[in-house]
Structure formats: C-alpha cells, structure tokens
Symmetry: C2
C-alpha cells in the first residue's frame, strides 16, 4: 500500500530548510518514496490525502526524557527540596514495572499527540519503556539507568549491567527501538562505573550511551571536592567522552570543555524549560553549535518540564538565545525547527534514518494544521511554528509508514485506559505526599517553602 499526501506545505528540514508550497510526499513500504513540488506521481494502490495546505514535516525528535515520570508531573512544583523530600523516597517506594508501563503509556500518548515521533528515554525497568514504545508505534532510544543511590531496579552495578545486557538482547535488531546504557551522572556513577560503561559500550557499538552532565551547582561542587576538577573532566578521565555520547543539560561549560565535546563527538540534549524552571541556568547553545556540537531540543522528564511536546520548548530555546545575545537575531525560528528535527536526529546518531524528509529515509512525518486564528496570517512558516503553533495543531502522525494518529485520534493507545491507569497510581502518590508532609511536620514543611 502506498500513501500519497498532496497539496501540502512540505518542510523537508534538509540543510537550507526549503519550503515546498503545494508539494507532495509519497510513502511506500515504510519509507519516503517521492517528494517534491506540484502534482504527485501516479502510483498504484494509493491512499490519497489532500493536506489542504497543511504543513507536512519530519516527526520531531525528543532526545532526552524520563517518560514514566508523567505520573509525577506537577508534584511539589516550586518546592526547592522536592527531589529529596518527595521524588527519591517515592521512586524507591513506587517505581515498579507496572508504574513504568503506566507512566510510559501516558507519555507515549502525549508525545504522539504532539508530533514527537522519536524519544530518547532514561529511567528504570527500561525494558518496560521499550515495550510500550514498541506497542505505541513510536521510535525510541531506551536507556537503562545505572546509579549508585539505591535506585528502584538494581542494588549494585552487577545487577545494573545485567539489566543493560537483557535490554540490549531484547531489542537487538528491533526496527524502531534501540537499547541504550545510561550512567545517571558523574556524581552517581563515579569514574570506575563510567569506565566500565565505556568498556562495555566499546563492545556494543549499536547501544548509545546517555548521561546527565554539568547540570547542577552541587555537581560542580562534587567534582571539585572529589576530583579537583570539573564534571566534563571527570567523564573524560573515565574514558566516556566518546563519539555518540548523548549528554543531557550541559549548562556549565567553559570554552575548553566545549572544544573537547566537539573534538570527541559528544552530542547535547538541551532542556531549556526544565533547566529554567529549576532556576539552574541556560546552556551555551550558540557556542556549542558554533563548535560543531549537534544540539537537540528536549523536554526532560515531565516532573521537570511538565509537558512532552517540543512546542512548549520552542519559546524558551529562542528567547534565551535572544536574551543572551541582546538582540532579536540569534537563534532564528528556522534554526529552532532544524534543531527539533534534523539536529535532534544527529544527537541520537539516527540522521541517516530520520530527521528529514528525503527519498529513502523512514516515513516518520507529521501534519500540522495552520487553521487556528492565532496562527494567521503567515509571513514566515518557521516563525509560525515556533511562536504560534501548539501541540493541538498536530493532526496526523506517521512512524515508519504507519499512522499513529489521524485527525487527532491516537490509534495505537487507548486514551481512556491510559488515563484511568495513571489516575489510580496518582491517587497513591497523593496519599504518600500527605504522609510525607505529616511525618515532617506541617510547620517544618512550610518553613522549607518560605
């Protein structure tokens, strides 16, 4: 079966970022078979779609997420110590394969509905994440987290590596789901663990490595105290600054560190909204990109960034660059969309397969309506996407030639069931928050917040 979409504003997101008005895209056997201006080719067995001028562009790539944490979304918002007060104790108590399945399903529903077609995840019981991504029809890089703080699914690194091995075995050769190994951060997977990861990864070239890096003041302090240097140097000493490393955050980098990331082939997942909401700072995106480091636009986990659409990130990504540059010019809208598509695919090492619309690439594409009055008129389609489009404008979503959403109906997950399951777990979390606050004493709790 061939699908032909015609009468579309096609944004292939190839270098130069062309705009093809009244264009067409043809999809055959899960790949893009033709693409261009004007009338589509005559093809047999065709599902013909008139896009009515809507945008057709590559599905968006979210290179850093913690999908199961949808269940923590908005919990303890604005509370400075919420990580130690709520999150870590609740993760130890409540993170089970079931919780991971339920939270990932909610995240997958939301991602599809927002036009995200590829997600890189880092969490626990990650095989469950991979299975839900598979079932939802999405494309994913699923990273089994390793950490030394007694996380929910491994007591020590031998158990952690066993989970990684099993994950890699389960998804070996999967067409859409790729296993990944994810040492949590320099301070929670110190040099011996990171060195072991580097060794393991060298023997598994198809398993990308993800890490949180240079994200927090406390991390900078830890590195200085423990190793007399900065976190990038700690990772470098462990041999983990390597081609294809997906480093999330990277807020605190100096010039030499940026050069070192570029030289070693590290890629960066930029979490603008999450970092700003935490009051942590703004990553040096312009300097990274100028040095040749690919930078993708990521949501971070929904406890930190709340929503899993990239539209909510576009404003911050653009505004922060313009504020830092004291001008309207830095980070033009066209660059933001390039980062959300092609550059995100580069970050994940998948740009030969996805990230642009080109003949032969996987048919991962989305259709976006521009009918909402808030999007009109249109002088620059990229400015419209960055500053006026919202997730609900995404109408159709296809991954590998299969429709995951048509006319805003997600076809691969049952919305009511997803919400019911999530609601049941959220009720347990609410009760636990009450317990935690009661145990700490109401006055103490209020004191923390003022």
């Amino acid at each position: 079966m061939t699908t032909v979409i015609r009468n579309a504003t096609v944004l292939p997101c190839t270098p130069g970022m062309p705009v093809i008005e009244g264009g067409h895209v043809a999809i055959e056997a899960g790949r893009i078979a033709a693409l261009g201006a004007g009338a589509p080719p005559e093809l047999a067995g065709v599902e013909a779609i008139d896009a009515g001028g809507d945008i057709v562009m590559p599905g968006m790539v979210n290179p850093h997420c913690h999908m199961p944490m949808t269940l923590f979304r908005g919990l303890g918002e604005d509370v400075d110590d919420r990580l130690f007060r709520y999150v870590l104790p609740m993760e130890r108590k409540f993170v089970t394969p079931e919780m991971v399945r339920v939270g990932t399903a909610l995240a997958a529903w939301e991602s599809i509905a927002a036009g995200v077609t590829t997600i890189a995840d880092m969490y626990y019981f990650e095989a469950e994440v991979g299975r839900v991504i598979d079932r939802a029809g999405l494309r994913g890089v699923v990273g089994q987290t390793l950490a030394d703080f007694a996380p929910p699914d491994h007591r020590d690194m031998d158990e952690g590596f066993a989970l990684v091995e099993a994950l890699a075995d389960e998804f070996a050769g999967h067409p859409r789901v790729r296993a990944s190994i994810a040492p949590h951060a320099p301070y929670s997977t110190d040099i011996p663990v990171m060195a072991r990861v580097a060794d393991w990864a060298a023997g598994h070239p198809d398993v990308p490595v993800q890490i949180h890096l240079a994200e927090m003041n406390t991390e900078m302090d830890w590195a200085e105290r423990t190793h007399g240097c900065r976190p990038v140097e700690v990772v470098d000493r462990a041999g983990l600054l390597r081609d294809g490393l997906i480093a999330a955050h990277c807020l605190y980098l100096d010039e030499a560190e940026i050069a070192r990331l570029a030289e070693t082939g590290v890629r960066v997942a930029h979490n603008a909204r999450s970092n700003a909401k935490a009051g942590r700072g703004i990553a040096p995106v312009a300097a990274l990109r100028a040095a040749g480091v690919p930078v993708g636009i990521a949501t971070d986990g929904p406890m930190s960034g709340n929503t899993l659409d990239l539209f909510s990130q576009f404003g911050p990504v653009s505004m922060f660059a313009k504020l830092l540059g004291h001008s309207r010019k830095p980070m033009p809208a066209v660059d933001v969309i390039a980062m959300a598509t092609r550059e995100g695919a580069e970050v994940l090492g998948m740009v030969d397969e996805i990230g642009t619309l080109e003949v032969g690439k996987a048919a991962d594409l989305i259709r976006i309506s521009t009918a909402a009055p808030r999007m009109q008129p249109i002088y620059d389609i990229y400015a419209t996407l960055v500053f006026a489009a919202m997730p609900d404008d995404v109408r159709d979503v296809m991954v590998a030639g299969k429709w995951l959403m048509r006319d805003r109906e997600v076809l691969t997950l049952e919305r009511a069931q997803v919400l019911r399951d999530a609601g049941q777990i959220a009720a347990r979390f609410r009760a636990e928050m009450v317990e935690i606050d009661r145990a700490r004493g109401k006055d103490a709790a209020q004191g923390d917040q003022t």
Copy 2:
C-alpha cells in the same frame, strides 16, 4: 435568566487563592449571584451546567496589547531592524480604520478563544478598536495613541487630542468599553505633550493613561542625552507619574525608581515574552511586587509576542523569575495565576468589578477542561494551569453574564469572515515586503540579517 454552573473546580482568585472542589457559581443579571462548595442554591429560570470537574475561574486580564497588529504577526521575525525597515513604513501606508477593524476582530476572536475577557489596547483609530471590542462582547480599555513620529491618524497633538476627546465622548458610560489616553513613550511624547496629557487626565478621572516606559536601550540613551536623566524621571518631571498610570514594560528600573512608582500609584504591564524575544531583558517583577506595585501579565502586540493568550506568557513569567532567583521557589504557579486575573484587574483599576469571582462582581468567567492527557495527573491545579494548560483547553467564556464562547465556538464573531478579511490585508503586506526588500537591494537586506 439565571445560569448555574455546578460540579466545578472553582478558583475564585481571591487573596489566599482558595480551590473549591465540586463547587458552584450562579450568575444573574450579568453578575455573580452565588458561589461556593457543594450543591448550588435553588433558583428560578435556570440554565444549569454540569462542569464535570472542569476549572471555573475569572476571565483573564491582558493589560497591554496592540490588537490590530495581528495583521503583522510574524512579519520580519528575527530581523533586528524590522521596526524601521518594515513596521513604521507599512503602518504609515496601511493603517486605516478598515485595517484596524479587521486586525482587532482577529485579535478579539483569538482572545476570547484563549479565555482573555479584558484587554487594554493602545493603537491608532482607537474608536474602531472600541467598537469591535463592544461587538465581540469583550471588556476593554481602549487607548488612543499620541506620538510625534507622524503616526497614521494624527498630524499633530491638537489632532491627537481631538481623537482622544471623541473617543472619550463615544464610550462615556459604556458598561464594558473604557476610553483611555495613551502617550506612546517618553521619547515620542516629550515633556510638553506628557504634561498636557497629565492636565487633560486630571479633568477626566474615568479615562486611564497608558504609556510604554523604560523599554529600550535607545530610550535610556535618549533620556540621558535629552534630559540628563532616566526615562522614569522624565515622566515624573512631566507630572505623569500618577495614580493609575498603566506603564508597559518597565525593564530598566533601579531601586529608587521602583519606590517612586509604588509611591505614585503606577501599575505595570509585564510583557515577558515580547521583551525576551526582542533580546531586551527581563523586568524586575519580584522587586516591583515586593514594593507594592501591581504587575499584570500582558501579551504586548502580536507582532512582538505573536499570540494573544496568557498561557504562552506563563512559562516565561515563571521561568525568568526562577532563573533570576537561582531557585525553583520564586514566582510559584499560584502567583502567576493571581497576576493573570486579580492583579491584572488592579493594574487596570478595575478590581472592584472584575479579576476575581465574588458575589456582586461582574460575571466574567471562563471554563477550562483538564481532560487533555498532557494535563494529567493533577497534584496542584495552579501548576497544571501554568505549565500544562493551553488556549485550546478553554471551553466556555462569559463576559458580564453573556456567553462569548461555548464548547470552543466563538459566538460573537464569524470566524471564516474574520480570517478572510485578515488574509486579504496580509496579501497586501506581503507584496509590500517584497517591494521594500527590492528597493533596499537584496545584498543589503541579507547583510542586515547576518
């Protein structure tokens, strides 16, 4: 006819920001007749609405806008000199009563659809803005702009004041539309004009004054060069720092100026997204509010801020405060919603009438669905509103007891007509942009952008 909404999550937005689960609101003769927890009172002639747990809260207040500029939305985005290159020449050529009507209708449609029920506007041919706001059923403060740079509707200040007089006469006693006088900015309405405005305003206590203040580096330079002081001092010398002055932007303020604004009763419209997109900076919102200056959340004109919903502002307002405070705690979500409602009404001097849901106040209210998966689960309803809600979640909008939108259908403006009219004018603008770029030479134009 009485309307009773029951089974709602009522957010009255009164001080303390209570949350009434399973609450009701009753509306009679355009005002709130009852409000509280549990079952509603028995009332005759009732339109009964089961809100199904949806949020019911005050309509949002947008205290600074240039509504007709929807027609310029996204034009010249990322071009540093777009004001002088495109906007001012095109305004002189194209701003007519018809353009103002068409642009305002598009803005009114979008505002209603996003749950904004009161807008303060500053533009030209402002009587047209007032008439469209009246027809749309919105509440508005319509500010006739005065400026010395040959604006489209007055050649000199005598003509400008004549427009103000006519506007004040036309809307005297109008239940929803209030005339306003709007000297453009210190640099474009120097001391003699601002002093004349102050005199005029003293004799017209029902006509609020609006001004752009401390917005740009060039404004700071102008004040220093021309008067040897800063813009706030220039306005003060003109006698215009007065109770009720609505000052937009206020980016560049020192401690003494903040104290002076507080002392004189000035209120501030904060345009977070617009200011950041222009690379200008971040207003000292925390210091202003700590000094007792009410600060509302505004969109600025759609050429600067693109969309006219306040949801798009919530992220920036919150994130900027947290970034400046280096912590997750500043500007909690509950404060953002207070600013979008009650504090916005204070900025416009209308808090006795609108801004909270209280018995006796005008029935300006909105209903927001929390059904979207991206909003689930909910631990803190204010965090959900600030970080996950979007304009399309607004279902119903009422102003003065009259429905302006039901189930996302705007009832007072014809959507297709609004878009058709806007499209015709946008086509003229596009042709003019081509002309301007051609006249300047393509190479020169590209040079400006790099």
